[in-house]
Amino acid sequence: MREAADIHKLLDETVRRERGWLISSLVSKFGLSKVDLAEDVAQDAIVKALSTWPYKGVPDNPRAWLRRVAGNAAIDRVRRAAREFGIDDDWDPASDEEDVITPSLRDPELDLMVLCCDPAIAPQDQLFLALKTVCGFTAAETAALFFMKEDALAQRLARAKRHLKAQSGELARFPTRFALKDRLPRLLKVIYLMFAWGYLPRRGESLVRADLCREALRLSEGLLAQTDGNTAGHHALHALLLFQIARLPARVDASGRLVTLEHQDRSLWDQTKIADAFAQLEAAKTSETLTRYHLEAGIASAHAEARRWDETKWPVIARLYELLLDQAPSLAVAVNGAVGLMLAGDLDAARARLDSASAYPHAERFPGFHLARAKLARLDDDPDAATAALAAAKACETSAPMAEHIERELSLAV
Protein backbone atom coordinates (compact mmCIF):
# COMPACT_ATOMS: atom_id res chain seq x y z
CA MET A 1 0.00 0.00 0.00
CA ARG A 2 1.24 3.44 -0.82
CA GLU A 3 1.27 5.67 2.23
CA ALA A 4 -0.06 9.20 2.04
CA ALA A 5 3.45 10.59 2.49
CA ASP A 6 4.67 8.46 -0.42
CA ILE A 7 1.85 9.73 -2.60
CA HIS A 8 2.73 13.32 -1.77
CA LYS A 9 6.36 12.65 -2.61
CA LEU A 10 5.50 10.84 -5.83
CA LEU A 11 3.21 13.66 -6.91
CA ASP A 12 5.70 16.36 -5.97
CA GLU A 13 8.47 14.69 -7.92
CA THR A 14 6.36 13.81 -10.93
CA VAL A 15 4.86 17.26 -11.14
CA ARG A 16 8.19 18.98 -10.73
CA ARG A 17 9.89 16.82 -13.29
CA GLU A 18 7.09 17.13 -15.82
CA ARG A 19 6.76 20.85 -15.35
CA GLY A 20 10.42 21.24 -16.30
CA TRP A 21 10.01 18.97 -19.27
CA LEU A 22 6.92 20.79 -20.51
CA ILE A 23 8.44 24.24 -20.11
CA SER A 24 11.57 23.16 -21.94
CA SER A 25 9.60 21.56 -24.74
CA LEU A 26 7.35 24.59 -25.14
CA VAL A 27 10.28 26.98 -25.13
CA SER A 28 11.98 24.91 -27.78
CA LYS A 29 8.78 25.20 -29.78
CA PHE A 30 7.93 28.87 -29.41
CA GLY A 31 11.22 30.46 -28.61
CA LEU A 32 12.73 32.04 -25.57
CA SER A 33 10.67 35.20 -25.77
CA LYS A 34 7.70 33.09 -24.73
CA VAL A 35 9.24 31.57 -21.64
CA ASP A 36 6.51 33.10 -19.44
CA LEU A 37 3.80 31.69 -21.65
CA ALA A 38 5.50 28.31 -21.54
CA GLU A 39 5.49 28.42 -17.73
CA ASP A 40 1.82 29.39 -17.64
CA VAL A 41 0.81 26.70 -20.08
CA ALA A 42 2.74 24.05 -18.19
CA GLN A 43 1.18 25.10 -14.90
CA ASP A 44 -2.36 25.22 -16.29
CA ALA A 45 -1.92 21.78 -17.73
CA ILE A 46 -0.64 20.33 -14.47
CA VAL A 47 -3.47 21.87 -12.46
CA LYS A 48 -5.95 20.45 -14.92
CA ALA A 49 -4.38 17.04 -14.66
CA LEU A 50 -4.17 17.03 -10.89
CA SER A 51 -7.74 18.12 -10.41
CA THR A 52 -9.01 14.93 -12.04
CA TRP A 53 -6.80 12.42 -10.22
CA PRO A 54 -8.84 12.62 -7.01
CA TYR A 55 -11.68 10.96 -8.85
CA LYS A 56 -9.68 8.37 -10.73
CA GLY A 57 -6.71 7.66 -8.51
CA VAL A 58 -3.13 8.02 -9.65
CA PRO A 59 -2.63 6.32 -13.00
CA ASP A 60 -0.17 3.43 -13.19
CA ASN A 61 2.18 5.57 -15.19
CA PRO A 62 1.59 9.09 -13.88
CA ARG A 63 4.29 10.57 -16.05
CA ALA A 64 2.87 9.27 -19.33
CA TRP A 65 -0.61 10.25 -18.23
CA LEU A 66 0.48 13.72 -17.25
CA ARG A 67 2.37 14.22 -20.49
CA ARG A 68 -0.64 13.23 -22.53
CA VAL A 69 -3.15 15.34 -20.60
CA ALA A 70 -0.76 18.23 -20.18
CA GLY A 71 0.22 18.03 -23.82
CA ASN A 72 -3.41 18.30 -24.91
CA ALA A 73 -4.10 21.13 -22.49
CA ALA A 74 -1.00 22.86 -23.77
CA ILE A 75 -2.23 22.63 -27.33
CA ASP A 76 -5.56 24.22 -26.34
CA ARG A 77 -3.88 26.94 -24.45
CA VAL A 78 -1.39 27.58 -27.21
CA ARG A 79 -4.13 27.80 -29.82
CA ARG A 80 -5.73 30.57 -27.82
CA ALA A 81 -2.41 32.20 -27.06
CA ALA A 82 -1.41 32.03 -30.69
CA ARG A 83 -4.28 34.37 -31.46
CA GLU A 84 -3.66 36.48 -28.39
CA PHE A 85 0.07 36.93 -28.80
CA GLY A 86 0.26 36.40 -32.52
CA ILE A 87 2.87 33.73 -31.91
CA ASP A 88 2.35 31.73 -34.87
CA ASP A 89 3.97 32.50 -38.12
CA ASP A 90 4.91 29.07 -39.27
CA TRP A 91 3.40 26.75 -36.72
CA ASP A 92 0.07 25.17 -37.42
CA PRO A 93 -1.12 23.46 -34.27
CA ALA A 94 -3.37 21.18 -36.25
CA SER A 95 -0.56 19.79 -38.36
CA ASP A 96 1.99 18.84 -35.79
CA GLU A 97 0.30 18.49 -32.46
CA GLU A 98 2.59 15.61 -31.76
CA ASP A 99 5.49 17.98 -31.72
CA VAL A 100 4.36 19.70 -28.57
CA ILE A 101 4.51 16.37 -26.86
CA THR A 102 7.48 14.97 -28.73
CA PRO A 103 9.70 17.93 -29.34
CA SER A 104 11.79 18.05 -32.43
CA LEU A 105 14.97 19.02 -30.66
CA ARG A 106 17.02 16.21 -29.28
CA ASP A 107 16.96 17.45 -25.74
CA PRO A 108 14.93 20.57 -25.04
CA GLU A 109 15.77 20.55 -21.34
CA LEU A 110 19.44 20.68 -22.08
CA ASP A 111 18.90 23.45 -24.62
CA LEU A 112 17.05 25.53 -22.09
CA MET A 113 19.69 24.79 -19.51
CA VAL A 114 22.37 26.10 -21.87
CA LEU A 115 20.30 29.22 -22.45
CA CYS A 116 19.88 29.79 -18.72
CA CYS A 117 23.66 29.86 -18.39
CA ASP A 118 23.80 33.21 -20.14
CA PRO A 119 27.05 35.01 -19.23
CA ALA A 120 25.00 38.20 -18.73
CA ILE A 121 23.22 36.54 -15.82
CA ALA A 122 24.86 36.19 -12.39
CA PRO A 123 25.88 32.56 -11.65
CA GLN A 124 23.47 32.14 -8.76
CA ASP A 125 20.64 33.59 -10.85
CA GLN A 126 21.51 31.09 -13.58
CA LEU A 127 20.94 28.39 -11.02
CA PHE A 128 17.61 29.90 -9.93
CA LEU A 129 16.51 30.14 -13.53
CA ALA A 130 17.55 26.57 -14.29
CA LEU A 131 15.72 25.25 -11.23
CA LYS A 132 12.61 27.23 -12.05
CA THR A 133 12.40 26.44 -15.76
CA VAL A 134 14.42 23.32 -16.56
CA CYS A 135 13.90 21.45 -13.31
CA GLY A 136 10.30 22.51 -12.72
CA PHE A 137 10.62 23.94 -9.22
CA THR A 138 8.01 26.53 -8.35
CA ALA A 139 9.12 29.99 -7.28
CA ALA A 140 8.08 29.12 -3.72
CA GLU A 141 10.14 25.90 -3.68
CA THR A 142 13.18 27.62 -5.18
CA ALA A 143 12.93 30.43 -2.65
CA ALA A 144 12.60 27.93 0.21
CA LEU A 145 15.62 26.02 -1.05
CA PHE A 146 17.79 29.11 -0.76
CA PHE A 147 16.10 30.62 2.29
CA MET A 148 15.04 33.64 0.29
CA LYS A 149 11.89 35.64 0.39
CA GLU A 150 9.72 34.71 -2.54
CA ASP A 151 9.42 38.27 -3.84
CA ALA A 152 13.18 38.79 -3.66
CA LEU A 153 13.66 35.66 -5.74
CA ALA A 154 10.91 36.76 -8.12
CA GLN A 155 12.74 40.01 -8.77
CA ARG A 156 15.99 38.27 -9.54
CA LEU A 157 14.21 35.79 -11.76
CA ALA A 158 12.44 38.56 -13.64
CA ARG A 159 15.74 40.30 -14.27
CA ALA A 160 17.37 37.07 -15.40
CA LYS A 161 14.45 36.33 -17.69
CA ARG A 162 14.78 39.72 -19.36
CA HIS A 163 18.32 38.76 -20.39
CA LEU A 164 17.09 35.39 -21.50
CA LYS A 165 14.35 36.81 -23.70
CA ALA A 166 16.75 39.24 -25.31
CA GLN A 167 18.66 36.38 -26.90
CA SER A 168 17.71 35.76 -30.45
CA GLY A 169 18.78 34.25 -33.72
CA GLU A 170 20.51 30.93 -34.13
CA LEU A 171 21.70 30.91 -30.55
CA ALA A 172 18.17 31.04 -29.21
CA ARG A 173 17.00 28.34 -31.56
CA PHE A 174 19.84 25.87 -31.27
CA PRO A 175 21.69 26.82 -28.11
CA THR A 176 23.20 23.41 -27.57
CA ARG A 177 24.96 23.53 -30.89
CA PHE A 178 26.26 27.08 -30.64
CA ALA A 179 26.88 27.83 -27.03
CA LEU A 180 27.59 24.56 -25.34
CA LYS A 181 31.36 24.74 -25.53
CA ASP A 182 31.56 28.30 -24.19
CA ARG A 183 29.06 27.77 -21.48
CA LEU A 184 30.05 24.36 -20.30
CA PRO A 185 31.99 25.58 -17.26
CA ARG A 186 28.87 27.46 -16.13
CA LEU A 187 26.68 24.47 -16.79
CA LEU A 188 28.96 22.33 -14.69
CA LYS A 189 28.84 24.91 -11.94
CA VAL A 190 25.03 24.98 -11.98
CA ILE A 191 24.90 21.18 -11.87
CA TYR A 192 27.42 21.18 -9.05
CA LEU A 193 25.43 23.73 -7.04
CA MET A 194 22.21 21.84 -7.64
CA PHE A 195 23.85 18.69 -6.35
CA ALA A 196 25.41 20.43 -3.37
CA TRP A 197 22.04 21.77 -2.25
CA GLY A 198 20.48 18.39 -2.64
CA TYR A 199 23.24 16.60 -0.80
CA LEU A 200 23.24 18.79 2.28
CA PRO A 201 20.12 20.93 2.64
CA ARG A 202 20.78 23.56 5.26
CA ARG A 203 17.29 23.54 6.62
CA GLY A 204 14.17 21.42 6.63
CA GLU A 205 13.06 17.93 7.54
CA SER A 206 15.20 15.82 5.23
CA LEU A 207 18.88 15.24 5.39
CA VAL A 208 19.11 14.76 1.64
CA ARG A 209 17.01 16.05 -1.22
CA ALA A 210 17.59 12.96 -3.33
CA ASP A 211 15.45 14.36 -6.15
CA LEU A 212 17.82 17.30 -6.57
CA CYS A 213 20.82 14.98 -6.53
CA ARG A 214 19.28 12.75 -9.18
CA GLU A 215 18.28 15.77 -11.28
CA ALA A 216 21.86 17.01 -11.24
CA LEU A 217 23.14 13.57 -12.24
CA ARG A 218 20.58 13.31 -15.04
CA LEU A 219 21.52 16.71 -16.48
CA SER A 220 25.19 15.84 -16.24
CA GLU A 221 24.55 12.57 -18.08
CA GLY A 222 22.61 14.41 -20.79
CA LEU A 223 25.46 16.85 -21.20
CA LEU A 224 28.04 14.09 -21.44
CA ALA A 225 26.02 12.52 -24.24
CA GLN A 226 26.07 15.76 -26.20
CA THR A 227 29.67 16.81 -25.80
CA ASP A 228 32.95 15.24 -26.78
CA GLY A 229 33.66 14.61 -23.15
CA ASN A 230 37.06 16.30 -23.25
CA THR A 231 35.87 19.38 -21.51
CA ALA A 232 37.93 20.10 -18.47
CA GLY A 233 36.35 18.73 -15.39
CA HIS A 234 33.17 17.26 -16.79
CA HIS A 235 34.13 13.62 -16.29
CA ALA A 236 35.50 14.54 -12.91
CA LEU A 237 32.26 16.24 -11.89
CA HIS A 238 30.29 13.26 -13.12
CA ALA A 239 32.55 10.95 -11.12
CA LEU A 240 31.99 13.09 -8.05
CA LEU A 241 28.20 12.94 -8.41
CA LEU A 242 28.31 9.17 -8.86
CA PHE A 243 30.56 8.61 -5.84
CA GLN A 244 28.32 10.71 -3.62
CA ILE A 245 25.06 9.23 -4.86
CA ALA A 246 26.49 5.72 -4.42
CA ARG A 247 26.93 6.42 -0.71
CA LEU A 248 23.51 7.98 -0.14
CA PRO A 249 21.74 4.74 0.91
CA ALA A 250 24.08 4.41 3.88
CA ARG A 251 23.94 8.04 4.94
CA VAL A 252 20.55 7.88 6.59
CA ASP A 253 19.35 5.01 8.78
CA ALA A 254 15.86 3.48 8.76
CA SER A 255 14.53 6.11 11.14
CA GLY A 256 15.91 9.00 9.07
CA ARG A 257 18.92 9.65 11.28
CA LEU A 258 22.23 10.86 9.91
CA VAL A 259 24.89 8.13 9.84
CA THR A 260 28.38 9.60 9.64
CA LEU A 261 30.92 8.13 7.27
CA GLU A 262 32.72 6.43 10.15
CA HIS A 263 29.64 4.43 11.14
CA GLN A 264 28.13 3.76 7.74
CA ASP A 265 27.35 0.21 6.66
CA ARG A 266 29.59 0.19 3.60
CA SER A 267 27.84 -2.85 2.14
CA LEU A 268 24.94 -0.47 1.39
CA TRP A 269 27.06 1.57 -0.99
CA ASP A 270 25.99 1.16 -4.59
CA GLN A 271 28.95 -0.68 -6.10
CA THR A 272 27.70 -0.30 -9.68
CA LYS A 273 27.70 3.46 -9.30
CA ILE A 274 31.10 3.36 -7.66
CA ALA A 275 32.47 1.35 -10.60
CA ASP A 276 30.95 3.89 -13.00
CA ALA A 277 32.47 6.66 -10.94
CA PHE A 278 35.95 5.14 -11.16
CA ALA A 279 35.54 4.82 -14.94
CA GLN A 280 34.61 8.52 -15.10
CA LEU A 281 37.56 9.39 -12.92
CA GLU A 282 39.82 7.49 -15.33
CA ALA A 283 38.35 9.44 -18.25
CA ALA A 284 38.88 12.66 -16.28
CA LYS A 285 42.64 12.13 -16.55
CA THR A 286 42.51 13.22 -20.20
CA SER A 287 41.52 16.70 -19.10
CA GLU A 288 44.15 19.37 -19.77
CA THR A 289 43.51 21.24 -16.58
CA LEU A 290 43.09 20.09 -13.02
CA THR A 291 39.73 21.40 -11.85
CA ARG A 292 38.20 21.50 -8.39
CA TYR A 293 35.98 18.65 -9.55
CA HIS A 294 39.07 16.49 -10.06
CA LEU A 295 40.16 17.16 -6.52
CA GLU A 296 36.73 16.59 -5.00
CA ALA A 297 36.23 13.42 -7.03
CA GLY A 298 39.66 12.30 -5.85
CA ILE A 299 38.63 12.78 -2.23
CA ALA A 300 35.37 10.92 -2.83
CA SER A 301 37.26 8.07 -4.52
CA ALA A 302 39.57 7.71 -1.52
CA HIS A 303 36.51 7.15 0.66
CA ALA A 304 34.92 4.82 -1.87
CA GLU A 305 37.92 2.52 -2.14
CA ALA A 306 38.36 2.14 1.62
CA ARG A 307 36.59 -1.04 2.64
CA ARG A 308 36.65 0.04 6.27
CA TRP A 309 36.84 3.39 8.00
CA ASP A 310 40.30 2.60 9.38
CA GLU A 311 41.59 1.75 5.91
CA THR A 312 40.92 5.30 4.72
CA LYS A 313 44.02 6.98 3.32
CA TRP A 314 43.75 10.18 5.34
CA PRO A 315 47.11 11.68 4.30
CA VAL A 316 45.98 11.51 0.65
CA ILE A 317 42.64 13.10 1.53
CA ALA A 318 44.29 15.83 3.59
CA ARG A 319 46.65 16.60 0.72
CA LEU A 320 43.78 16.80 -1.79
CA TYR A 321 41.93 19.19 0.51
CA GLU A 322 45.00 21.42 0.68
CA LEU A 323 45.12 21.54 -3.13
CA LEU A 324 41.39 22.19 -3.24
CA LEU A 325 41.78 25.01 -0.78
CA ASP A 326 44.30 26.69 -3.09
CA GLN A 327 41.98 26.38 -6.04
CA ALA A 328 38.56 26.95 -4.54
CA PRO A 329 38.89 28.35 -1.04
CA SER A 330 35.73 28.13 1.03
CA LEU A 331 34.72 27.61 4.62
CA ALA A 332 33.45 24.07 4.01
CA VAL A 333 36.66 23.05 2.23
CA ALA A 334 38.80 24.52 5.01
CA VAL A 335 36.79 22.71 7.69
CA ASN A 336 36.79 19.38 5.88
CA GLY A 337 40.49 19.81 5.20
CA ALA A 338 41.09 20.33 8.91
CA VAL A 339 39.20 17.11 9.70
CA GLY A 340 41.31 15.28 7.10
CA LEU A 341 44.47 16.56 8.79
CA MET A 342 43.21 15.46 12.22
CA LEU A 343 42.51 11.96 11.03
CA ALA A 344 45.88 11.87 9.26
CA GLY A 345 47.34 12.57 12.70
CA ASP A 346 48.63 16.08 12.06
CA LEU A 347 46.84 17.92 14.87
CA ASP A 348 48.95 21.07 14.68
CA ALA A 349 48.23 21.56 11.01
CA ALA A 350 44.55 20.85 11.70
CA ARG A 351 44.53 23.48 14.43
CA ALA A 352 46.11 26.05 12.12
CA ARG A 353 43.63 25.19 9.42
CA LEU A 354 40.66 25.62 11.76
CA ASP A 355 42.07 28.93 12.97
CA SER A 356 42.20 30.18 9.43
CA ALA A 357 38.68 28.85 8.83
CA SER A 358 37.37 30.91 11.74
CA ALA A 359 38.14 34.03 9.70
CA TYR A 360 35.26 33.23 7.35
CA PRO A 361 32.31 35.44 8.18
CA HIS A 362 29.85 32.53 8.29
CA ALA A 363 32.05 30.20 10.33
CA GLU A 364 30.13 30.77 13.56
CA ARG A 365 26.88 29.78 11.86
CA PHE A 366 28.25 26.69 10.12
CA PRO A 367 27.61 23.59 12.27
CA GLY A 368 30.41 21.67 10.51
CA PHE A 369 32.93 24.19 11.81
CA HIS A 370 31.92 23.60 15.42
CA LEU A 371 31.73 19.82 14.95
CA ALA A 372 35.32 19.91 13.65
CA ARG A 373 36.37 21.98 16.67
CA ALA A 374 34.69 19.44 18.93
CA LYS A 375 36.55 16.61 17.23
CA LEU A 376 39.88 18.36 17.66
CA ALA A 377 39.14 19.11 21.31
CA ARG A 378 38.40 15.44 21.91
CA LEU A 379 41.68 14.44 20.25
CA ASP A 380 43.33 16.97 22.55
CA ASP A 381 41.63 15.30 25.56
CA ASP A 382 39.78 18.49 26.36
CA PRO A 383 36.16 17.40 26.99
CA ASP A 384 35.03 20.83 28.20
CA ALA A 385 36.12 22.50 24.97
CA ALA A 386 34.43 19.67 23.01
CA THR A 387 31.14 20.21 24.83
CA ALA A 388 31.34 23.96 24.29
CA ALA A 389 31.96 23.45 20.57
CA LEU A 390 29.01 21.06 20.31
CA ALA A 391 26.80 23.56 22.09
CA ALA A 392 27.83 26.16 19.51
CA ALA A 393 26.98 23.67 16.73
CA LYS A 394 23.58 23.15 18.29
CA ALA A 395 22.87 26.87 18.07
CA CYS A 396 23.28 26.85 14.26
CA GLU A 397 20.37 26.55 11.90
CA THR A 398 20.47 23.25 10.04
CA SER A 399 18.30 20.40 8.78
CA ALA A 400 16.32 18.44 11.38
CA PRO A 401 18.38 15.20 11.08
CA MET A 402 21.63 17.15 11.37
CA ALA A 403 20.32 18.93 14.48
CA GLU A 404 19.42 15.56 15.95
CA HIS A 405 22.90 14.25 15.18
CA ILE A 406 24.46 17.19 17.03
CA GLU A 407 22.10 16.56 19.93
CA ARG A 408 23.22 12.92 20.12
CA GLU A 409 26.91 13.90 20.01
CA LEU A 410 26.23 16.33 22.80
CA SER A 411 24.51 13.74 24.96
CA LEU A 412 27.44 11.36 24.47
CA ALA A 413 29.92 14.06 25.40
CA VAL A 414 28.34 14.92 28.72
Binding site: L50, S51, Y55, G57, T138
Partner: protein, 118 residues
Protein backbone atom coordinates in the same frame (compact mmCIF):
# COMPACT_ATOMS: atom_id res chain seq x y z
CA UNK B 1 -20.89 -5.26 -0.06
CA UNK B 2 -23.17 -2.45 -1.12
CA UNK B 3 -22.27 0.52 -3.26
CA UNK B 4 -22.67 4.09 -2.11
CA UNK B 5 -22.39 7.31 -4.08
CA UNK B 6 -20.62 10.19 -2.37
CA UNK B 7 -21.65 13.50 -3.87
CA UNK B 8 -19.12 16.25 -3.26
CA UNK B 9 -20.55 19.75 -3.44
CA UNK B 10 -18.54 22.91 -2.88
CA UNK B 11 -19.14 26.65 -2.79
CA UNK B 12 -19.10 28.10 -6.31
CA UNK B 13 -16.07 30.27 -5.54
CA UNK B 14 -14.25 27.66 -3.43
CA UNK B 15 -11.37 27.17 -5.87
CA UNK B 16 -11.42 30.36 -7.89
CA UNK B 17 -9.29 32.49 -5.56
CA UNK B 18 -7.04 29.75 -4.35
CA UNK B 19 -3.29 30.10 -4.93
CA UNK B 20 -1.59 27.53 -7.08
CA UNK B 21 0.44 25.98 -4.27
CA UNK B 22 -2.59 25.74 -1.96
CA UNK B 23 -4.66 24.12 -4.69
CA UNK B 24 -1.95 21.54 -5.31
CA UNK B 25 -1.69 20.71 -1.60
CA UNK B 26 -5.44 20.27 -1.44
CA UNK B 27 -5.51 17.98 -4.45
CA UNK B 28 -2.71 15.92 -2.96
CA UNK B 29 -4.88 15.30 0.10
CA UNK B 30 -7.70 14.05 -2.10
CA UNK B 31 -5.43 11.92 -4.24
CA UNK B 32 -3.77 10.41 -1.17
CA UNK B 33 -7.17 9.50 0.25
CA UNK B 34 -8.35 7.89 -2.98
CA UNK B 35 -5.12 5.86 -3.18
CA UNK B 36 -5.61 4.73 0.39
CA UNK B 37 -9.25 3.73 -0.18
CA UNK B 38 -8.34 1.97 -3.42
CA UNK B 39 -5.72 -0.07 -1.58
CA UNK B 40 -8.35 -1.04 0.99
CA UNK B 41 -10.75 -2.09 -1.77
CA UNK B 42 -13.24 0.60 -0.79
CA UNK B 43 -12.95 2.88 -3.80
CA UNK B 44 -14.93 1.94 -6.92
CA UNK B 45 -14.52 5.01 -9.11
CA UNK B 46 -15.71 8.51 -9.68
CA UNK B 47 -16.05 11.39 -12.08
CA UNK B 48 -15.07 15.00 -11.75
CA UNK B 49 -17.64 17.32 -13.24
CA UNK B 50 -16.55 20.22 -15.42
CA UNK B 51 -16.33 23.46 -13.48
CA UNK B 52 -17.99 25.56 -16.17
CA UNK B 53 -21.20 25.02 -18.08
CA UNK B 54 -24.22 22.89 -17.24
CA UNK B 55 -27.76 22.77 -18.55
CA UNK B 56 -31.14 22.41 -16.95
CA UNK B 57 -33.86 20.89 -19.08
CA UNK B 58 -37.40 21.40 -17.79
CA UNK B 59 -40.84 20.39 -18.90
CA UNK B 60 -42.98 23.46 -18.52
CA UNK B 61 -46.62 22.58 -19.29
CA UNK B 62 -45.70 20.22 -22.07
CA UNK B 63 -42.98 22.31 -23.72
CA UNK B 64 -39.34 21.45 -23.09
CA UNK B 65 -37.21 24.37 -22.01
CA UNK B 66 -33.44 24.41 -21.84
CA UNK B 67 -31.57 26.77 -19.54
CA UNK B 68 -27.95 27.26 -18.73
CA UNK B 69 -27.34 26.13 -15.17
CA UNK B 70 -27.84 29.15 -12.89
CA UNK B 71 -24.96 28.02 -10.77
CA UNK B 72 -23.73 31.43 -9.70
CA UNK B 73 -26.82 31.89 -7.58
CA UNK B 74 -26.76 28.59 -5.74
CA UNK B 75 -24.98 28.03 -2.45
CA UNK B 76 -23.15 24.93 -3.60
CA UNK B 77 -22.35 23.25 -6.89
CA UNK B 78 -21.61 19.59 -7.40
CA UNK B 79 -17.89 19.15 -8.05
CA UNK B 80 -18.02 15.45 -8.70
CA UNK B 81 -19.01 12.11 -7.29
CA UNK B 82 -17.31 8.98 -6.08
CA UNK B 83 -18.58 5.44 -5.69
CA UNK B 84 -17.40 3.46 -2.67
CA UNK B 85 -17.98 -0.01 -1.26
CA UNK B 86 -19.37 -0.26 2.25
CA UNK B 87 -21.36 -2.81 4.28
CA UNK B 88 -24.03 -0.31 5.25
CA UNK B 89 -24.73 3.35 5.85
CA UNK B 90 -22.78 3.23 9.11
CA UNK B 91 -19.61 2.22 7.33
CA UNK B 92 -20.27 4.63 4.47
CA UNK B 93 -20.56 7.46 6.98
CA UNK B 94 -17.34 6.36 8.67
CA UNK B 95 -15.57 6.47 5.31
CA UNK B 96 -17.05 9.88 4.54
CA UNK B 97 -15.75 11.16 7.88
CA UNK B 98 -12.19 10.41 6.80
CA UNK B 99 -12.70 12.08 3.41
CA UNK B 100 -10.51 15.15 2.81
CA UNK B 101 -13.62 16.80 1.46
CA UNK B 102 -14.78 17.12 5.06
CA UNK B 103 -11.58 19.00 5.86
CA UNK B 104 -11.60 21.27 2.84
CA UNK B 105 -15.34 21.66 2.26
CA UNK B 106 -18.54 21.28 4.23
CA UNK B 107 -20.84 18.63 2.87
CA UNK B 108 -20.88 15.10 1.52
CA UNK B 109 -24.18 13.61 0.40
CA UNK B 110 -24.31 9.82 0.64
CA UNK B 111 -26.80 7.66 -1.25
CA UNK B 112 -26.83 3.90 -1.53
CA UNK B 113 -27.29 2.49 -5.02
CA UNK B 114 -30.19 0.10 -5.48
CA UNK B 115 -28.49 -3.23 -6.15
CA UNK B 116 -31.75 -4.84 -7.29
CA UNK B 117 -31.38 -2.79 -10.47
CA UNK B 118 -28.16 -4.65 -11.38
Amino acid sequence: MAKFVLMLPHAPDRYTNLGEADFMELMKDYIGWVEDMTAKGKFEGGEKLMDEGGKIVTNSSGSIEVHDGPFAEVAEILGGYMVINAADYDEAVEIARSHPHMKHNETIIIRQTDASAD
